[in-house]
């Protein structure tokens, strides 16, 4: 073996640190109390170029509509990476003080990671405060700061539901389970009847799924964290109920535990190994393209409930557009973020052409959107199902200021223990310890629940 490809990777990683150009950092914008309409009009007539970093396919459509409305503003779209790579590049550029975009795609769970470092511009003075009524309540809560700041404009969401194989359910006489208890019974029945098939797959390293499951289960582990105080309670009763549930099913061997979005998983989905996929509103269109051979066999339904008769959902995924306070063009950037996510033509295209699940009330009630019948789901109006689910997502779920680390610690502690059918309570405790230790290293005052 030679060191040719690997030498110094670690050192290079360390050396490429964001400190490098700290000397020439730009000063952040001090947000004004209020920006008048005249100021906005004036700015929007000043020739400007905005930098927008996003991974959303086909966003050029919305950008074109914006440039048509404001011909003096040009928007340069950059797809730097998706997810972790995207944020790493943004952080580096922000710390360097130059090269950072004016506007960027930010997932809900990452908004606090950029407010803790004081990099997001409060969009209230630029008119974003008045947009609240256009958005679903829980979505707006996700982008709102503790003092009413508007940190980003919601673009799409992922209220969680269940996609199931109607043919498998019918063949084994399984009713669509309304509660988690019924779901567990169905898992046992189905696996006993056909050992090749599992009612669902628990993805062991998919922290985002587990967050959504906690959300639905009424756990809000980081509630009340603000500034230097980090509250963490992943060991709450509600969290234990969720973790125990999955650990028990895994221990009984009646759910599979394959890593999701892997070759194995795609293959298994096509082969009919899983009778349901517990997913989010972006799932239906995604599945349609990845499990094409199963067209017509799937249906959508809300998630099973913890208490019979409840209607509660969690959210998994979705993102926003935020403006960084190092921008030289705060007004134009803020108007842009608002325009592409509220202009009727823009948002309609997002929902019906790019299949981003909308956060705006107008679209969720629009018959053209909800009435769409998908052949893959036997002509079911899947959007309507998820639009109804969206209304049941709890507004109480706060993200920690370092969700990427929390996710990284989830896999080796909780995820792998559940997959092995181990002691879920102990695993949650390990997870909490790791989070608390990291937070202390980062200088937070940690308040643990127990």
């Amino acid at each position: 073996m030679t060191p040719r490809f690997r030498r110094r990777t670690g050192l290079a990683a360390a050396a490429a640190s964001p400190f490098a150009f700290a000397a020439c950092a730009r000063q952040p914008v001090e947000p004004p109390e209020h920006v008048s309409q005249a100021q906005i009009d004036d700015a929007m007539r000043t020739p400007t170029e905005l930098n927008f970093w996003t991974w959303v396919p086909g966003i050029e459509k919305q950008v074109a509509l914006f440039e048509e409305a404001y011909p003096d503003i040009k928007v340069k779209v950059t797809n730097a990476a998706q997810g972790a790579g995207h944020y790493a590049k943004i952080r580096t550029a922000l710390r360097a003080g130059r090269g950072a975009p004016d506007v960027a795609q930010i997932e809900y769970e990452m908004v606090p990671a950029f407010t803790i470092t004081d990099h997001l511009l409060d969009l209230r003075p630029y008119g974003a405060g008045e947009l609240e009524d256009q958005f679903v309540e829980w979505v707006w809560a996700q982008v709102s700061g503790a003092n009413g700041e508007v940190w980003a404009i919601p673009q799409d969401t992922g209220p969680m539901g269940m996609l199931y194989r109607a043919d498998i359910f019918d063949a084994h006489g399984i009713e669509v389970p309304a509660t988690w208890e019924a779901f567990a019974d169905a898992a046992r029945t189905l696996h006993e009847a056909d050992p090749e098939v599992y009612l669902t797959n628990f993805p062991p390293s998919q922290g985002a799924f587990f967050s959504g499951a906690l959300w639905q289960g009424g756990a809000d582990p980081f509630a009340g964290s603000e500034g230097p105080v980090l509250k963490v309670d992943v060991v709450s009763e509600a969290a234990q109920r969720v973790a125990d549930y999955w650990s028990t099913l895994a221990a009984e061997g009646v759910v599979s535990t394959d890593p999701d979005f892997s070759d194995q998983w795609y293959q298994a989905a096509n082969r009919g190994k899983y009778a349901t996929w517990l997913t989010a509103a972006w799932g239906p269109v995604f599945l349609q393209s990845t499990a094409a051979s199963t067209s017509g066999k799937w249906r959508a339904a809300p998630l099973p409930q913890w208490e019979s008769g409840d209607e509660v959902a969690g959210n998994w995924g979705g993102s926003t557009n935020g403006v960084f306070n190092i921008t030289e063009h705060p007004i134009q950037a803020a108007v842009f973020a608002q325009f592409i996510n509220t202009d009727p033509e823009c948002t309609k295209a997002m929902a019906t052409e790019q299949f981003l699940f909308p956060p705006t009330k107008a679209l969720l009630e629009d018959p053209e959107f909800t009435g769409l019948e998908l052949e893959f789901y036997g002509g079911q109006k899947v959007n309507e199902v998820f639009a109804q689910i969206s209304a049941t997502v709890s507004p109480d779920f706060q993200w920690p200021p370092f969700n990427d680390q929390v996710r990284a610690d989830y896999g080796p502690t909780v995820g792998s223990t559940i997959a092995a059918g181990g002691d879920a309570a102990a695993a949650l405790g390990d997870w909490q310890d790791r989070i608390a230790e990291y937070a202390e290293f980062q200088g937070f005052t940690v308040e643990e629940g127990s």
């Binding site: 073996m1 030679t2 060191p3 490809f5 690997r6 030498r7 110094r8 990777t9 670690g10 050192l11 290079a12 990683a13 360390a14 050396a15 640190s17 964001p18 400190f19 972790a84 790493a88 952080r91 803790i116 470092t117 062991p204 390293s205 500034g227 230097p228 890593p259 892997s262 070759d263 194995q264 293959q267 298994a268 190994k273 200021p401 370092f402 990427d404 680390q405 990284a408 896999g411 080796p412 995820g415 792998s416 997959a419 990291y438 290293f441 980062q442 200088g443 937070f444």
Partner: protein, 317 residues
């Protein structure tokens, strides 16, 4: 003893002593020669300084600080290093790559030596084709190799699993408890050819007189291989081993790629390099990542040094 003679004989033309004689012989041209020499190495030295020494020094400086989300950046002296030496995650990673080294490297070196000797014996037909075939995997980028093997190993979808299924057996859990062995297999596949070429080149450099002398003394091919070729290969073998120490401890690409297939087995701290990467780019602990990288560097230096010390002592005795 014969090694020493061979070494000094081949090294004679570039010993410092002969250099000095040459300089004296040319009179006062020495300094100008020296200046020209520096000019020739300047392009390399500039690039080496800018791309290696400066980042290294920078990372070293960086490792003495701690930047926090709350509280900003403070000088912490050796705190990051004390943390590293008592970090169970780092120690687990080091233990894992050490185990990897102990399993994989002897196997790979034995294979490389075997192939090199076989090629050198001139008994093989199609020697060129065989040489190329064994060397070929080294030309495959390690990322591609890992992807390819990941597919071969795959449970459910992989060809090995499907074959096992056809004959009614269960394929071994390559991506589960056998993971380290699976990675060792990929690395062996990739680098056996490379080591073979190094050894083969060294074999070709052995003076044929020695073989003739051995033949006169009545040594057969096995005896020649054991008593002449392998002892004379010692420097090349040591070189290959040192490369392997470095390569093993810096294991990164293969586990990093295989991670998507088995995220529960290959955790963020699976190898020290992967750990440093995740510290920096997931946890934003850049300073600590720098310290971990230096600790890893020291371990590798110490390992290589100990290894060379051990082999030198053995050759002297």
């Amino acid at each position: 003893m014969s090694t020493d003679t061979a070494d000094s004989a081949s090294a004679a033309p570039i010993t410092p002593r002969s250099g000095r004689i040459a300089k004296r012989g040319k009179g006062g041209k020495g300094p100008r020669y020296a200046r020209t020499g520096y000019l020739f190495v300047a392009p390399f030295m500039i690039a080496f300084t800018a791309m290696f020494l400066v980042p290294l020094a920078y990372a070293a400086w960086f490792s003495f600080f701690r930047e926090q989300m709350i509280g900003g950046n403070v000088f912490v002296g050796f705190d990051n290093y004390t943390r590293a030496f008592s970090d169970p995650q780092l120690m687990a990673g080091l233990g894992r790559v050490a185990l990897f080294f102990l399993i994989q490297v002897p196997l790979m070196m034995a294979l490389a030596l075997f192939f090199a000797l076989a090629l050198d014996s001139a008994l093989l037909r199609l020697a060129r084709t065989v040489r190329l075939a064994i060397f070929m995997p080294y030309a495959v980028p390690s990322v591609v190799a890992a992807l390819m093997w990941g597919f071969l190993y795959g449970p459910d979808f992989g060809p090995i699993a499907q074959l096992a299924d056809k004959i009614g057996a269960t394929a071994p859990d390559f991506l589960g408890n056998l993971m380290l062995g699976s990675i060792a297999n990929i690395v062996t596949w990739e680098f056996t050819g490379y080591n073979m070429i190094l050894l083969y080149a060294a074999l070709r450099a052995i003076p044929t007189e020695l073989y003739e002398a051995a033949a006169v003394d009545g040594a057969g091919p096995w005896r020649t291989a054991w008593s002449i070729k392998i002892p004379l290969l010692r420097p090349a073998l040591v070189l290959c081993m040192v490369f392997s120490v470095i390569g093993s401890f810096q294991l990164f690409n293969e586990p990093s790629i295989m991670r998507t297939l088995a995220p529960n087995v290959i955790v963020a701290d699976y190898t020290p390099n992967l750990y440093a990467y995740n510290l920096a780019f997931v946890g934003q602990e850049y300073n600590y990542a720098a310290a971990v990288s230096f600790v890893l560097g020291f371990v590798i230096m110490a390992g290589s040094y100990l290894f060379m010390l051990a082999t030198n002592r053995r050759s002297r005795s």
